[in-house]
């Protein structure tokens, strides 16, 4: 029972970070109908940014989120303005390829600068944990990162639901042409959405950096997980991505405990294929043809 509870809790905690990654991808897809294959690589850039800030300025990774978030927002905005904006009306495969290419450039540039060695960011609390009782313990860095993701997600919901810009973003996602007719600057909304997506992915990278190996190719697996999360939740649905993230977190930690940690990603991908086959619109998505 303790094992079950333990893996359930770790799953939910890591699921919070996955939710951030998924929400970023789903926002970008919702507003631009573009699947961002560079999402994991943007997360990787966030990890390295945190690593640099930690080793050079000695700022704690959880504090440096305050610097990483705006920097990654800018990075995403520039990416959108310079590259993505040019293929908004291109064929789907060209959009996909462009983002794959951008991802390859990011991971390999980082590899040129930092080499492909694994980096570890060790904080005083990296391996600390809190006893909850009943033989269940919670890893301190995971718990802090979960609290931060929860705060960011809440702020994001508030932003999307209550502010004018947030509503304009949701309107653009619902119907780009209609939004434009209503006087919404859809180009600016696209830049903001991509910036937000990148900032969320980068923040997720920052939050996992104390517990994860940092290396240039780390992005690939997160790109795929981000898809699994968004497809599971329904492409374009923010609520779906939040739920999807937590679900994938739990699935992963359960299969790591009850099957083996080597196979946990396989379980996630098989789940992904099953969702694509039997409920391609996802948990929260409207069925689309």
């Amino acid at each position: 029972m303790a094992v079950l509870l333990q893996s359930l809790i770790s799953g939910i905690l890591i699921g919070g970070v996955y939710a951030l990654i998924g929400i970023g991808l789903t926002l970008i897809f919702g507003v631009m109908r573009i699947i961002n294959f560079a999402h994991g690589d943007i997360l990787m850039v966030g990890m390295y940014l945190t690593y640099i800030i930690f080793t050079w300025l000695h700022i704690d990774p959880f504090v440096s989120v305050l610097i990483t978030f705006p920097l990654m927002f800018l990075f995403g905005g520039v990416l959108q303005k310079v590259f993505i904006n040019r293929v908004l009306n291109a064929l789907a495969q060209n959009q996909i390829l462009l983002t794959i290419g951008l991802g390859l450039i990011m991971s390999n540039t980082v590899m040129l600068i930092f080499t492909s060695d694994y980096k570890i960011l060790t904080t005083s609390y990296s391996s600390a944990s809190i006893q909850v009782g009943g033989g269940v313990s919670v890893s301190t860095p995971l718990l802090i990162s979960f609290l931060i993701t929860a705060a960011i997600t809440a702020a994001l919901y508030w932003f999307l639901l209550k502010t004018d810009t947030g509503q304009a973003i949701r309107a653009t996602a619902q119907d780009r042409d209609a939004a434009q007719l209503m006087g919404i600057n859809v180009k600016r909304m696209s830049i903001i959405a991509f910036g937000l997506g990148a900032a969320l992915a980068g923040t997720a990278g920052a939050l996992i950096s104390p517990t994860y190996y940092i290396f240039p190719q780390v992005g690939g697996i997160f790109t795929l997980k981000a898809f699994v999360i968004t497809v599971l939740g329904g492409m374009g649905s923010v609520v779906g991505a939040t739920l999807g993230g937590v679900l994938i977190g739990i699935t992963e930690s359960m299969s790591a405990v009850y099957i083996s940690s080597g196979w946990k990603d396989v379980v996630v991908f098989v789940l992904f294929l099953l969702v694509l086959l039997f409920k391609p619109s996802g948990l929260m998505g409207k069925s689309r043809t």
Binding site: L104, L112, W263
Partner: protein, 349 residues
Amino acid sequence: MNKTTLKAVLVLIALAVLLAVPKYVESPYALHMMILLFLSVTMGQSWNILGGYAGQHSVGHAAYFGVGAYTTMMLMHAKQIAPWYGVWIGIALVVVVALAIGSICFRLRGPYFVLASIAVAEILRLSAINLTTLTNGAEGILATELPAFKIGETVVTDFSTKVPFYYIGLFLIVLTIAITYLVQHSKLGYFFQAIREDQDAAHSLGISISLYKNIALVISAVLTSLAGSFYGIYVGFVDPPTVLGLDVSVQIMLICIIGGMGTLWGPMLGSLVLVPLSEALRSNMITEALVKVGMVNAESKVGIFLKENLSHAHVLLYGILVVLVILFMPDGLMGFVKKLALRRKREAI
């Protein structure tokens, strides 16, 4: 002489020249480059049948490449089965894998198909890492000793030089190009292109979508697995990232995208651009050239940095090329050439 006979004569001359190359070229490096070129054309041309003609942009072709490479190598390493028998088992396995993938992925369209194709390749890559008893896991399989190829009692070749590999590679590109040509000029090819242009319209005209998509996939997968088996025995080593990684799938696509999808010459043009460029980076030729011209001092910090790192930069180059091609030449080099020709024609009128 009309155009078709002229073309046929030119192709025959090219083939004769390629057949004669090992007689006059002794440099193993030159032959190595030609073999890499053949491998690249084979991979590109195989993807082209599914991606270029039938319009199903699979980003998971590493699955077929890897299954071919792994099957041949595993049989040779563990059971001492010669690769020219192993290849057939590889093909049989790939057909099974392709049909399984087809039955799952072809129900999906556009981005969902792309995602599913990646997921399948990733499942295979992770399985190759985890099934250590079968595949030797992340360490990969090293098997450089090839048995001699005999017909009856006479030894045809013992694979001690690069020449036999050269001829196998040549055979592979002739095979794939011939198949592509046949597909392009047959009813099958028209069905593929109809599906690519408008799936629903093709369906309403009575073309069985799933049947023809699966035919395109099986042809494409079998040829890709042949390329994979050839890669395995030529290099003598396979491990999960080099034959099943996402990079492999992207590289296979890239050959067609740079050259031009859905054209016979596209994969060849793409390979002619990609292979020399990435080899020049890998063998540090570019750094040496920069030093020779005097742009970079070999002893300086920049020189040492370039020498140490530029050799790993060929994937970076792929990334930059993809971005440039998509932004500026979305139809690839062939599309670019065609556009130029069209403009000239118009100006002539």
